[in-house]
């Protein structure tokens, strides 16, 4: 094609597009709410793990879908409409998307903007300050400044979880299995694979290691990080190394990436433990999952906005208020494990024992 022809074609296309834009731009193509009864609009911004990481972000989306009857969340999940809100979700692909995504919903006047993830703390802090009349909620964090200090904005509800409680439960399972020799390789070695070394991840791991050592003082603990929350290949690599060093029960704390841990364990017929949501169906090797009821917390936050009881500040979800827990999956847990679980649950709830929350 010669220059002039390409140029003409280009000009023609540009003109056509311009005409179409002018014709259609004037009218109101999309309606954004505004029916007779005011529908609450809730916006959810995920972190880079993606909507279907089968844990973290997925749970928040689940909570939203339970509450929503319209909105783009309903094209990804089944909406139950229990609160009749409009639920929209946007996935962040990089840290640099957090502020623009949050601002997008805030600027459109959504009634509640939910950020999922500790890494969004500063972004929530910034945007909540710019839009004091919009309600914000953040899972696993509070609105902070650049130094990580809680700005204590009254329009921000920080939903924190005591992941170490859940970690302790699954750590007990692992420890008792190793002690009694019911583990696949009888190696007395267990592993954990974290995503990025951030507090929520380390809480889980700390509780896990603490409880495992409690149940089996001679146990060998391996811990590694993939530095990634979305690519299973990276977690598979770390898992492989731990397996090569004898670990036969692997706890994944890496969201979507961590699914690679579960499949690697399955390939070697070992045991694995899921995180945040019930990951029973990800792989047959999953014997239990540490639960973090993010879906419940999300739903409750939306409910509080709907019935006007929204309050800024921190709410902590732990074993004592059923905010975390565990789920037995593809293995019938033996009696000694169940007994140990009952025992430690009672002790944590009563405050007699407190799991570690930091990893050395």
């Amino acid at each position: 094609m010669t220059h002039s022809r390409v140029r003409l074609l280009g000009a023609g296309v540009a003109m056509m597009l311009a005409l179409f834009m002018a014709a259609c731009g004037g009218g109101n193509i999309g309606t954004t709410g505004g029916s007779t009864a005011k529908t609450l609009k809730v916006g959810l911004v995920t972190d880079t793990g993606g909507l279907n990481d089968k844990s973290f972000n997925h749970l928040a989306a689940l909570g939203l879908s339970k509450a929503a009857s319209t909105g783009n969340i309903c094209s990804s999940l089944t909406c139950q409409g229990q609160l009749g809100v409009q639920g929209d979700v946007v996935e962040s692909h990089a840290n640099s998307d957090y502020v623009p995504n949050l601002t997008n919903y805030a600027q459109k006047g959504y009634d509640l903007v939910i950020g999922v993830g500790f890494l969004m703390a500063e972004s929530i802090g910034t945007v909540s300050g710019q839009f004091p009349n919009i309600h914000f909620a953040i899972i696993d964090g509070t609105g902070t400044d650049a130094n990580g200090n809680d700005l204590k904005h009254s329009n921000v509800a920080g939903l924190l979880f005591k992941e170490q409680d859940a970690g302790a439960l699954v750590g007990t399972i692992a420890g008792v299995l190793e002690k009694s020799g019911a583990d696949p390789k009888k190696s007395n070695t267990i592993g954990s694979v974290g995503g990025i070394k951030i507090p929520p991840v380390d809480h889980y791991i700390a509780g896990y290691q603490w409880a495992a050592k409690l149940a089996d003082p001679g146990i060998k603990l391996l811990n590694g990080y993939s530095n990634n929350f979305s690519d299973p290949t990276k977690c598979a690599g770390v898992a492989d190394d731990q397996i090569a060093h004898g670990a036969d029960i692997l706890f994944q704390v890496a969201g979507g990436c961590g699914n690679g841990v579960l499949t690697e364990a399955g390939k070697s017929n070992l045991y694995s433990i899921g995180v945040d949501a019930d990951q029973k169906d990800v792989d047959k090797s999953v014997i239990a999952s540490a639960l973090k009821r993010v879906d419940v917390a999300t739903f409750d936050a939306i409910k509080s906005v709907k019935d006007g009881s929204f309050k800024g500040g921190i709410t902590t979800f732990g074993l004592d208020n059923d905010g975390v827990g565990y789920q037995a999956d593809n293995l019938a847990l033996p009696a000694d494990v169940m007994a140990a679980l009952t025992d430690i649950t009672a002790k944590i709830k009563s405050g007699a024992l407190t799991p570690d929350s930091t990893v050395p």
Binding site: N52, T233, H245, G256, T263, V282
Partner: protein, 316 residues
């Protein structure tokens, strides 16, 4: 010190070498493709995109048809088609081959996620069940050899395939008539044309081969290692393969050495659970090593003489 002890301890366990071989094989396949393509005179920096496309279609086909062989073939075809786009643009339209390569990589990144969203909604593909994945092969008897057995004879089937292809392509390029013609086309297309060799056909074939190999690598990654598709999962491996090819002086065996070095780096990083050195410093080693070798050994990298120059009959 502790750190040194950890590293030495790591080096004497088969695990890290096993991982090295796997990671190296994953890099070797696209590198071999690059070698063939560039030996014929077509610059190919699109291995990343072709590999990603192969990975995507491997998973999609495997999930739909539950047939590993079909999935692998599909992946190769997908990679080959991407390569053909590059071939047509570069050979027929004599476009700048770097632009075309860059465009393929961008296009692949976009189209895979675009189709992902179309087929599966927001970013979920699901897991490929183990029975539909590329299996690990444990060679009986040989795999019981202490240390070496676990490393060489207990790998994913694709590792063995890569070794076979390595030998085959090395022989092909340097000991067969076809290989001679491919290289002639890349060094002196004018002379080759005069001698009656079809320059265009050979170049098309070479570029297509690079697509097939990269697609195969994509299948390995997607249904041999990860058992799922994640946007961008190739993660720069295509570019590392490119570097390996150049570092290896456009020979298959040379590329192998480089791929093993990079594979080792990957394996060491994954072993961060057992080493008390910063995993981040450790990860730099293969790249620093390569730089040091490049700095210490004065070597002009001589690619095929006609590499990157579109062939115009009678133009010289």
């Amino acid at each position: 010190m502790n750190a040194l002890k950890d590293v030495l301890q790591l080096l004497v366990t088969p695990g890290v070498w096993h991982a090295t071989l796997q990671a190296g094989a994953l890099l070797l396949l696209p590198a071999l493709g690059g070698v063939i393509s560039e030996r014929s005179g077509v610059v190919n920096i699109a291995m990343e995109g072709m590999m990603l496309t192969g990975a995507f279609f491997a998973v999609v086909i495997d999930l739909a048809a539950h047939n590993v062989l079909l999935a692998v073939l599909g992946a190769m075809v997908a990679g080959g088609l991407m390569a053909l786009i590059h071939a047509v643009v570069s050979i027929r339209y004599r476009a700048d081959q770097i632009v075309s390569g860059v465009a393929i990589n961008i296009f692949a990144a976009g189209v895979t996620v675009f189709l992902l969203n179309r087929f599966y909604g927001l970013s979920d593909v699901g897991q490929v069940p183990a029975r539909d994945a590329l299996p690990n092969v444990t060679v009986p008897l040989l795999s019981d050899v202490p240390f070496l057995g676990k490393i060489f004879f207990s790998q994913n089937i694709m590792v063995y395939v890569a070794v076979v292809l390595l030998i085959a392509i090395q022989v092909l390029l340097f000991r067969t008539r076809l290989g001679l013609r491919i290289r002639a086309v890349g060094e002196h297309p004018q002379a080759a044309d005069t001698a009656g060799i079809n320059v265009y056909l050979l170049r098309y074939g070479a570029v297509a081969s690079s697509g097939l190999l990269s697609g195969l690598a994509g299948a390995f990654l997607a249904i041999g290692v990860s058992n799922t598709f994640v946007p961008g999962m190739t993660d720069g491996r295509g570019y590392i393969a490119l570097a390996a090819m150049i570092f290896g002086k456009w020979t298959p065996v040379g590329a192998l050495v480089a791929c093993l070095i990079f594979g080792f780096g990957q394996a060491v990083y994954d072993a961060n659970s057992s080493i008390r050195i910063s995993q981040y410093l450790l990860s730099m080693t293969p790249y620093l090593l390569t730089l040091i070798v490049l700095a210490a050994v004065v070597r002009r990298s001589s690619p095929p003489a006609a590499d990157g120059i579109p062939y115009v009959p009678g133009a010289e």
